[in-house]
Amino acid sequence: MSSVTIRLPRQGAGLALLQKYGVYLAIVLILVANLIVTPNFFTIDNLRTQLVQVVPVLIVALGMALVIGTEGIDLSVGAAMAMAAAVLPLYIGYGFVPALIIALVAALVIGLTNGVLVAFVGVQPIVATLSLMVAGRGLALLVAGEQLRPVIDPTVLALGRGTVFGVPWAVLIAAALVAIIAVLVNRTTFGKQLVAVGGNRRAAELAGLPVKRILLVIYLVCAVLAAVAGIIGTARLAASVPSTIGNLIELSAITAVVVGGTPLSGGQVKIAGTVAGALLLQIITATLVKHNVPDAYSQIIQAAIIIVAVYIQRGKVFTK
């Protein structure tokens, strides 16, 4: 980026705050609205439901945030979820852990292909991952023999429905992953390097950073996280549904990341914001469903809220 950053008209301090905490504010507003208009919203059960439901999008969004930080994008996350979902029941006979590992590895293949295409061949991320979004799900269905399989393995079911002190396993896992990724981004060398790559790839190369390896790793991590989301989804559903699991989740994940204040132009990663973004989308859908808003209007309303949320926190106009 040039030393000349074209800025938007200066805003007051109040607006600046709004800019910084826009998502959180939006969440609070919608929660308050629900407190008033939605029956049984503030029950433990319901709040738990919202947390459980946000888990897949949230976990996928974590990986997406990393990819976006490198000025990339990953449309194949849904396919990675499907792949994991397809493979898990095939090997569950060998026990949960082996099946889990094989499922993650299967998803890694997708991440690896993405990484190689983007980092080494230099294909533009959106198309590289688009081709895997299409091919990956097809592969998953093929692996599953186009079958929808019920999953009855006790460990898997526990993973899907079990709780610890009332907190679902899924939520605990998601929380742990959030913590890990947050540390990775904010406390490790790798975290700094990945935003450097996103900020100015050429400069990062000249500074001796292993740019290609960094990119490869990022796409692998993104795929693994998606796979975890796929497995949790499968466990909750007690069935492997590679055909529909994670359909269009890439769009929700990207939205969550951007609503959370991470610019698509790369060079920054905001984990807390991403979590908030995912939660915001979740409670919006929840509110719309609970009030039985017809599909047509709920789509319009979602769009409107996304625009507002992103609009209030727009900062500099980043350009390359």
């Binding site: 040039s2 030393s3 950053t5 406390r187 450097a196 900020g199 001796g208």
Partner: protein, 553 residues
């Protein structure tokens, strides 16, 4: 020149002076100021960049805008040209208050600008860059490419740049890009041409061309605002100066009756005699030991169309200068040694170990680091803070088990921010918000933090102020004395001459000669660099239009 590229300002009365000769101090003339800033202030989150600035430009004058890095020069220029809106104060054009909402407005009212960082479009052709928005049009109002190319070729020709104008801009050396920017700015009908460090990567020859252009502009009554950290340039072209310090005007007046030391002392805000000692550069007189066995030996470095069989040996503790014209291949040589550029042939050996070519990490591991020439494209990472930019390369060493240690980082960062006098509100300020010169210092800090064996410097003092320049030059000296091997590429002759113990001279990508001992002076260097053409370069002040014609014949 063709009508699409001539500059004939409507309104500005030609002072009738002969081409190339500056009209007598424009300040005396009665006519109204062509451009004016009245009590202009500009604040950014944290810093006050400009604080009640009054700045007046009269028709036909060459007005120097001086100040150390971060003084506010570029910000003032951006306010004058509608990039930023002033927080207080107003602008006036020919005495009438104006508001430039966008750079376009400024251009329309005859204010044309060359910004500090080359701001052209890398992927577009040279010609497109020159004529963007005012392309010559033929039938049906469609762009007439043939004419556009012809005009571009002719225009650049008058500046002594022969280049295929259909090539993408990014394929040219930074210096050439700067000349393209100049050509564009001047070919827009303007009453004021503002130049923010136009010579920062130009060679003597281009600088001479630039000066002739300035002379021509002034002869037409066009005012020139000139920002540079090169004192002798200022004294050659400008008769008026405004000095900024910390966003305030500390001096306005004629240059002729203002001694250098005084000017510098005004800029730095230090007493005259504090500044007085020390020559043009701060390199120590004595040269460094050069008997030791070479730490680095580069042989037969070659890459098609760039460099051809370049060889170089550097001993610990010596500073080797690379001489050459714009495009001679100096940057390519450095890029080849530092693994930035894949080589077709050639090897780099350091302490007997051959370094894997084409790999920056390998070179860095071997102790070779390079400060790249193009800070904007190859240096800074805009989103990151000053701290992160400084430690970027050293990060692995400053970390424990992959976890970055703030403590280790701050240790390094503090040292260099102090030593290089980096002006930032805090180490956490985004580097993109720093002034050009301060960004340059951050880049230097990044590489010194690596404590390398061999330091390759491509234009190390590009755009940094006298004070800091002295610091850097002294630093280079000291590092050499500590046994570091240094290669220095600079477009400032005297910097090479006074800084280097030996000078290897390149032409068209090949080593033509090497100057040692007392051959290392400006005269020898100029002859070596320019070969036969030297005469026509130095002090050529024939009217431009005629020169280039014969040359291309």
């Amino acid at each position: 020149m063709t009508e699409s590229s001539t500059s004939n300002p409507t309104g500005a009365a030609p002072t009738g002076a002969a081409v190339g000769v500056a009209p007598g101090s424009g300040s005396g003339s009665a006519d109204a100021p062509v451009l004016q800033a009245r009590g202009v202030s500009k604040r950014f989150s944290g810093v006050t960049a400009l604080d009640g600035i009054d700045f007046t430009v009269l028709p036909g004058e060459a007005h120097a805008l001086m100040g150390e890095n971060g003084a506010g020069k570029s910000t003032l220029i951006k306010v004058l040209t509608g990039v930023y809106q002033p927080d207080d104060g107003e602008l006036a054009l020919h005495g009438e208050p104006v508001r430039f909402a966008r750079p376009l407005d400024a251009q329309k009212s005859g204010v044309s600008t060359i910004y500090q960082e080359v701001n052209l479009i890398p992927l577009m052709s040279v010609a497109q860059n020159i004529f963007l928005g005012r392309e010559p049009r033929g039938l049906l109002g469609l762009i007439d490419h043939r004419r556009m190319y012809a005009d571009a070729r002719e225009l650049l020709g008058t500046y002594g740049i022969q280049v295929d104008v259909r090539r993408p801009l990014r394929s040219l050396a930074l210096g050439v890009q700067q000349m393209v920017a100049l050509a564009r700015a001047v070919s827009i009908n303007a009453r004021v041409v503002i130049m923010d460090e136009p010579t920062s990567s130009l060679e003597t020859a281009e600088v001479e061309t630039l000066f002739r252009v300035i002379g021509m502009l002034r002869a037409q009554g066009i005012a020139v605002v000139y920002v540079s950290h090169r004192m002798d340039e200022i004294y050659r072209v400008c008769e008026k100066v405004t000095v900024l310090r910390d966003g305030k005007v500390v001096h306005v007046g004629d240059l002729t009756d203002l001694p250098r030391v005084e000017l510098v002392s005004k800029m730095l805000g230090r007493s005259v005699d504090a500044v007085a000692k020390g020559g043009a550069t701060s390199f120590s007189e004595d040269s460094h030991v050069s008997e030791a066995t070479p730490v680095l030996t580069a042989t037969d470095l070659s890459r098609r169309h760039q460099i051809d069989g370049v060889g170089l040996t550097i001993r610990p503790g010596e500073v080797v200068g690379l001489g050459g014209l714009l495009g001679a291949g100096r940057s390519e040589t450095l890029k080849g040694i530092s693994g930035v550029m894949q080589l077709d042939r050639g090897s780099v050996v350091i302490d007997g170990q051959t370094v894997r070519s084409g790999s920056v990490p390998a070179a860095i591991r071997a102790g070779i680091v390079m400060l790249p020439e193009d800070r904007k494209a190859e240096g800074i990472i805009p989103g990151l803070s000053v701290r992160d930019n400084i430690v970027l390369a050293a990060l692995p060493r400053l970390s424990k088990a992959g976890f970055s240690s703030r403590k280790n980082q701050d240790a390094v960062v503090d040292v260099f921010m102090k030593r290089l006098r980096i002006k930032a509100s805090s180490p956490d300020q985004p580097v993109s918000e720093l002034s050009g010169g301060n960004q340059q210092k951050v880049m230097i800090a990044r590489w010194l933090a690596m404590s390398p064996k061999v330091l390759l410097l491509d234009e190390p003092t590009r755009g940094i102020d006298v004070g800091a320049k002295a610091e850097v030059q002294a630093l280079i000296d000291e590092l050499a004395r500590e046994g570091l091997a240094i290669v220095l590429v600079s477009s400032e002759l005297e910097e090479v001459v006074e800084g280097a113990d030996r000078v290897v001279v390149l032409r068209d990508g090949q080593v033509v000669t090497e100057l040692t001992g007392d051959q290392v002076d400006e005269k020898h260097l100029l002859d070596a660099i320019a070969g036969d053409g030297a005469a026509s370069v130095v002090g050529a002040d024939a009217p431009i239009t005629t020169t280039s014609k014969e040359e291309r014949a």
